[in-house]
Amino acid sequence: MSASISLQLALAGEHAAIYGYGVVGPRLKTSQANQARSARNSHRAARDQLERRILAGGGQPVVADSSYVVDVDGASQQKLRAILTSIEDRLCELYATVVLEPDDDARRLGIDQMQATAVRATQWRGSALTFPGLQEPPPQS
């Protein structure tokens, strides 16, 4: 996998996350809506960072879709938080792929964003994953 592919996948994920937060956030109660707004701004910053890095590497950043499926029909507050948890968990997995890159700057970005997405997922879920970003838990001794 080339650096551009893992970065492009993370960028595509950020586009989707920004859209998802835009749909879900306003449906949350006030304090959590504020938290969602802050998270959306963090995702915008991450998107911009990824775009700059891809451009610097000579790539063409993937653009956002015009829309994404966000099923909020009759969703409870708990379901809305679960959607945001899922968004952050999946992004964390995408950034775990960026961590595999040999380029130090890309890897640093992946590591930082793994922590950021894992913390936000924990805040929405109310509990922490033991191995965030890993689709399968590592072998135990």
Binding site: V70, I87, L94, L100, I111, A118, V119, A121, L134, Q140
Partner: protein, 164 residues
């Protein structure tokens, strides 16, 4: 309401809300192939020297945190103790030296051992920073494990602060 449907599929796992499969399936396959092709295993094959240092240092931290979590009251600390134990087991499985186990006690004595939830959260944040720093110099497979453990520690610290 249901927001309108996107043309392209990007992200899986958004089952509760956002859908998409094809690109992510490619991604998951590529990750597996890269992991298999680019990284050593610990089954009798030497772990790179930098990996060994990183694994040992993070293991020492996890063992210290596991012991400290067990002494702090509350469900969050108990969950943290189980997580730190799982981190330690994964690090040992990845090749961390058992000598790190022996060095955990002196390390704990040298460093301020957390005894309150706030101190534990601070120690978990420090462990997250340590794991992130060491992941930068590690081989890809170890870097991903250390990054995940770092992210978990950052999450545990955030949870402890939220539950105070």
């Amino acid at each position: 309401m249901t927001a309108d449907v996107g043309r392209r599929t990007l992200l899986t796992g958004f089952g509760a809300g956002m859908t998409g499969y094809s690109l992510l399936a490619v991604s998951a396959t590529s990750v597996s192939l890269l992991t298999l092709a680019g990284c050593d295993t610990t089954n009798g094959i030497a772990v790179a020297a930098l990996d060994q240092v990183a694994l040992d240092q993070v293991l020492t931290g996890e063992l210290t945190l596991e012991a400290a979590s067990a002494k702090v009251a509350g469900a969050t600390a108990r969950a943290g103790a189980a997580a730190h134990r799982a981190h330690a087991d994964a690090l040992i499985a990845a090749g961390a030296s058992s000598s790190a186990t022996a060095s955990a006690a002196p390390s704990a004595a040298r460093d301020a051992v957390p005894s309150t939830a706030a101190e534990l959260a601070a120690a978990q944040r420090a462990q997250a920073a340590r794991a992130a720093r060491l992941a930068l110099g590690a081989t890809p497979r170890i870097a991903r494990l250390l990054s995940s453990i770092g992210a978990s520690n950052a999450s545990l610290a955030a949870l402890a602060v939220a539950n105070r």
